[in-house]
Amino acid sequence: MKREHIILAAVFVVLALVPFAAELTGQASWTRLVGQALIYGMAAASLNFILGYGGMVSFGHAAFFGIGGYVVGIMYHHFDAGTAFLGLIPGTDQMLITLPAAILIAGLAAALVGAMSLRTGGVQFIMITLAFAQMFFFLFISLKTYGGEDGIMVRRTNSLPGLNMRDKATLYWVVLGLAAAYYLFLRRLVQSSFGQIIAGIRQNERRMAAMGISTYRYKLYAFVLSGMGAGLAGALMVNFLRFASPDMMHWSRSGELMIMVILGGVGTLAGPFIGAGVLFTLETTLARYTEHWMLPVGIILLLVVMTSKGGLMALLRRLGGKG
């Protein structure tokens, strides 16, 4: 346990120093890249809670990521125009309102999707979650008020009292702080009584039912919690990129989140963050050299999955165990 704490603290400090390192080396894009990787890491980690710990292979997780993002976008849109959402709810650019709202709305969407899709299992579950995500994708494309296919520009990042959020480094530290908080939340969650029930359901749902657990309710709760996490990540991403678009909830985004989880290590806490960091770095680096960057990424993914049996986390553990 001690060792884990030291590693976590060290990683946090290194990540906190990124903006300084970027300034010193003149690589200003680092802050932006690491920030995005952290946000993808949160989205992947939220997926991993149901996929890795709960055994629910959701192929529509980007929907909640996108919905969280659109909450920020839409609220900013109304704030900027001085109008109200549905003529009732005024817009805002206050992060203390937009983030909780994004989490809440994404959770409601997850409750809706989960309530229907969790009545099935296996391949049907994968297909139904995918179908729901596509419905949300086309819904937002059809919303011409909010930019349709083009999405919404958020000209200024949401404000937080006492902080200059227009400063890239400040925004990065806010993202890092929330990513760390989310990591600690998940760490607690998987050790909680609820987390144990979820782990039990993954291993043997029939056994859990025989112990008096109404598995559907627990899976739905896990699905909602997971969707809320993705909503938070989406809201942060829109703040970070100052742009919300339907692409956030495209099915290929759901696939990417899955790849991050599998690459990093299914059912591990740090795995999705590592997977997100590696995949995002590979994508951005390789994209500079070739437009066919998917090919080398695919080969690397194949190699890691086939050799490591448990993703990069398993590799790290083996290295840590020997060293």
Partner: protein, 249 residues
Amino acid sequence: MTHVLEISGLLKTFGGLTATDHVSLTVDTGEIHALIGPNGAGKSTLINQICGEITPNAGQIHLAGRDITRLPPADRVALGLGRTFQITSLLDDMTVRENLGLAVQAREGGNFRIFDRAAKRAEIWDEVATILKDSALGDRADVTVADLAHGEKKQLELAMALSQRPRLLLLDEPMAGLGHVESQQMIEALLAARGECAMLLVEHDMEAVFALADRISVLVYGRIIAAGNADDIRANPTVREAYLGEEEA
């Protein structure tokens, strides 16, 4: 005498096949009622209807006086129904201790808590320690279930079912696949548990059935063709023809 379990006129058909043909039987407080019958007689179908995994076409199931015929499986457990599976069904990635802990936690409640630490819930782990102390699994407590021997898994399954403190325990072939020594251990464990709950025992091992059962019902082609104590069943010519005869031949 009150019936812990009362089944009346239960009917289940799959297409043209009648798997449960107007079955009625009772299990009384403190009783071990054995259900025997050749393969394909419909024993598992009956068990699964009592558990709620299969819904009958007609008839009623009462548990401690309450009609549970249409209740979902988890609600039946809350009313005091416990079971073991024919093919052992455990949480394979967890240790013996963790399996028992989850079983006790499921009964204790607080299962929706997301900010506590399951590993620090003293009321659970104290009880698990007590269960393990009295059990043959005591020195295997921290072994992962996947690494247990078959007989140990069967014992663990029984311990988990008993930790639910059921009124009625459904035992689906607890002796299946056990060697002679393991069978004896299982019989002893069941005899020790008989004060805690009533049992409906589905079993092929006749030695175990005669050693344990207060009453025996014989199921053939979905129908109960005979019921009575061990001597009645041994002496019953229909049973000998339908079932026991095959084994003794």
